[in-house]
């Protein structure tokens, strides 16, 4: 990801929609991937992605450049997705359990690779399903986005040891899912 120039940020902050579009294009893939992994439903994820970019647009004028634009956008995306997932898991726990293949079964499988891809997606969805939204965010950022513990801590605005313990609990949960004898201690 190349960094967006300060000039573009300033223009977008003043309401220049073309400038904002280039920020959108730069960060859309990250936002979409993270939001979809955390929120799980395609329809919900679209709403959340829209909310993320609207939050960015409305708050660009308060962005003072103390953290990198990338970090700031990551935070908004992750926090919006986590909040949404928490709200969902409280309100529609059952719907969530039955409907979570929607995001995964996106395109029909065509060849061997596509089938493998589908299986891999389902496997990941099943693992992430075993986690709460906080744990899920840490695993998505670590295992799918490749962030270090320090970077995750900065993005979620939590201490690094909280990152560590969430990752530990998340992995214990994933292990007990695969091998039932490794149940949570």
């Amino acid at each position: 990801m190349s960094e967006i120039s300060g000039d573009i940020v300033n223009k977008a902050a003043k309401g220049d929609i073309k400038a904002f579009e280039s920020i959108y294009r730069e960060y859309f893939e990250f936002v979409a991937n993270v939001v979809l992994r955390i929120v799980k439903h395609t329809d919900d994820a679209e709403d959340v992605a829209q909310e993320v970019f609207m939050t960015i647009y409305r708050n660009l004028k308060t962005f003072r450049g103390e953290s990198a634009l990338k970090t700031w956008i990551y935070r908004i995306a992750i926090n919006t997705a986590i909040n949404h997932a928490k709200k969902l898991s409280r309100e529609f726990r059952q719907i969530l359990e039955h409907g979570n293949d929607k995001a995964v079964a996106h395109s029909p499988p065509e060849d061997e690779d596509a089938i493998k891809n589908q299986e891999n997606k389902k496997m990941i969805a099943r693992l992430l399903d075993a986690l709460n939204p906080d744990q899920r965010a840490c695993i998505v950022l670590r295992n799918l986005e490749g962030l270090s513990y320090q970077e995750i801590a900065e993005n979620l605005n939590i201490p690094i040891n909280t990152v560590r313990s969430r990752i530990k609990r998340a992995r214990e949960a994933m292990m007990s899912l695969s091998i039932p004898r490794y149940t949570l201690s």
């Binding site: 959108y24 859309f28 991937n33 939050t55 091998i179």
Partner: protein, 167 residues
């Protein structure tokens, strides 16, 4: 180190390659001599790390969402055209209030200093007087500290106002 402690490290820093050389060697020494931890490690690797390798990126419809965002921005700007004036008015009131706060604390400080200087009991010797005013100055300093810390508190954080949604 005991197996349980080792396993905690294996599950986090070791799996993620975030250990320093010495700790890594220590963990590896344990792994090569403990069958139980070795098996634990293999299962952890297989069930918590491998599945995420080469994971396909998920995506949403880029254009569809951009159209929705554009529509929302345009409709927001229409309503904001009327409300913009009001919000500017509100923020200038906020600024006036901040200036008044600063003024008020300065006046309080002056009054306290005056009180200390004028209300000191007559007839006490010089040393006592000095102690009293030293204490008062410290007290004053603490008040001023407190005042300035309450006004700067909201300035700290992510560097934006967005944090208020998340804290």
């Amino acid at each position: 180190m005991k197996c349980k402690e080792i396993q905690e490290v294996l599950l986090t820093d070791y799996l993620d390659g975030m250990m320093n050389e010495q700790n890594r060697r220590e963990a590896e020494a344990h792994l090569s001599s403990c069958v139980y931890c070795k098996e634990f490690m293999e299962i952890a690797m297989e069930s918590t790390v491998e599945p995420f390798k080469n994971a396909p990126k998920l995506s949403l419809s880029h254009e569809k969402i951009w159209q929705r965002i554009k529509e929302e921005i345009i409709s927001e700007e229409k309503t904001a055209a009327g409300a913009g004036f009001l919000s500017e008015l509100a923020s200038s009131f906020k600024n006036i209030f901040a200036v008044r706060m600063a003024l008020a604390s300065a006046i309080v400080a002056v009054i306290v200093v005056a009180a200390v200087v004028f209300l000191n009991p007559v007839g006490q010797n010089q040393t006592v007087k000095n102690t009293t005013s030293d204490e008062s100055i410290q007290y004053l300093a603490s008040i001023i500290d407190e005042l300035s810390s309450t006004t700067t508190e909201e300035e700290e954080g992510y560097g934006t106002e967005i944090e208020k949604y998340f804290l």
